[in-house]
Subunit: 199 residues, 2 copies
């Protein structure tokens, strides 16, 4: 069996849907699937390593990456820039590895535009009511912030129809099983299978 | 969550690839996925039940089913007819069940023509050499029969490019996991998910 290119997955969903938790479990349990590393202009926090947690770059370097079209997507968040460098993603895909981008909803469709082969996965809570109680149970945010996040979630979920797969994060184990099944099934897609029956 | 229609899967592959074994394990392990029951003109064998193993029908009844376009596909095999009645399949799909047709390679593309939504899955041995040793190890067939089956398998595998998924049955456990992942992922496809976030 020859090595084929890996598959590219874009995982997104509203804040509070638990996409980080679901994805963390899947990446820990599955072989040969890796999270892409983002570039950012923000300062490294204690313990964060360049090339592992983020590629830490200057504003100038980041602007250059944008100008040279070396980012699959980028966004500004509280004064700092975050983006997905294309080169390391392609390197992994060419080595036959599956790659997952965990990005914001706004970036997902931009990447899909540049990489039509990418599989879009939307992780949602079972309902906005559940999302609301999850956000409130964190106990860290004021009701005003919770309401603002809920409004944003509603707007993000309106884009759900553009996605290939919807994973409902009701029971965590089920959502993990769903996401790993999507990635495993992707390896069986005709175009992903390198098979020479005469080997 | 409202109930949506189930998904239709067509599982095929050359004789000796082990599709019956893989499928049997998946059907035993997974909920809400069912094998379609074929109609046949052959006599019931001891213990076989009408509507469970087969729908046992007369030649006249079978001809009528063909004329009234009530079969998704049919084929003759050693003087008897076998076919897949459409109605019970649609009944299960409409009830939200996933349905698997286990049919010969020749019938698979015919069903796909009638049901473009169906997902085509091809189960293959890892190589023709492995297939040859599997066929020989049965010890029930002459070398001439083995050679004829190998020739047929080569011709059937030439159609592999028309399939959505390829499952390589090298290690049985892996093939079972692959097939169940494909079916589970299918339930997360956008069109298969009935989600009302305002519930």
């Amino acid at each position: 069996m020859n090595k084929k290119k890996g598959n590219l997955y874009i995982v997104t969903g509203p804040s509070g849907a638990g996409k980080g938790t679901v994805l963390g479990r899947v990446l820990a349990e599955m072989d040969n699937v890796f999270l892409s590393v983002s570039a950012t202009t923000r300062q490294p926090r204690e313990g964060e390593k360049h090339g592992v947690n983020y590629y830490f770059v200057t504003h100038d370097e980041f602007r250059q990456m944008i100008e040279q079209d070396r980012l699959l997507e980028h966004a500004e968040y509280v004064g700092n820039f975050y983006g997905t460098p294309a080169a390391p993603v392609d390197e992994m895909l060419n080595a036959g590895k599956d790659v997952v981008l965990e990005i914001e909803v706004q970036g997902a469709l931009i990447v899909k535009g540049k990489r039509p082969d990418a599989t879009l996965i939307f992780i949602v809570p079972p309902s906005f009511d559940v999302l609301a109680s999850r956000l409130r149970s964190r106990g860290t945010e004021s009701e005003e912030v919770v309401q603002r996040r809920l409004m944003k979630a509603r707007s993000e979920c309106a884009q759900m129809d553009a996605y290939d797969y919807i994973v409902i994060n009701d029971q965590l184990d089920d959502a993990v099983h769903d996401l790993s099944s999507i990635i495993r099934a992707g390896r069986c897609r005709r175009g992903s299978v390198a098979l020479n029956l005469f080997d």
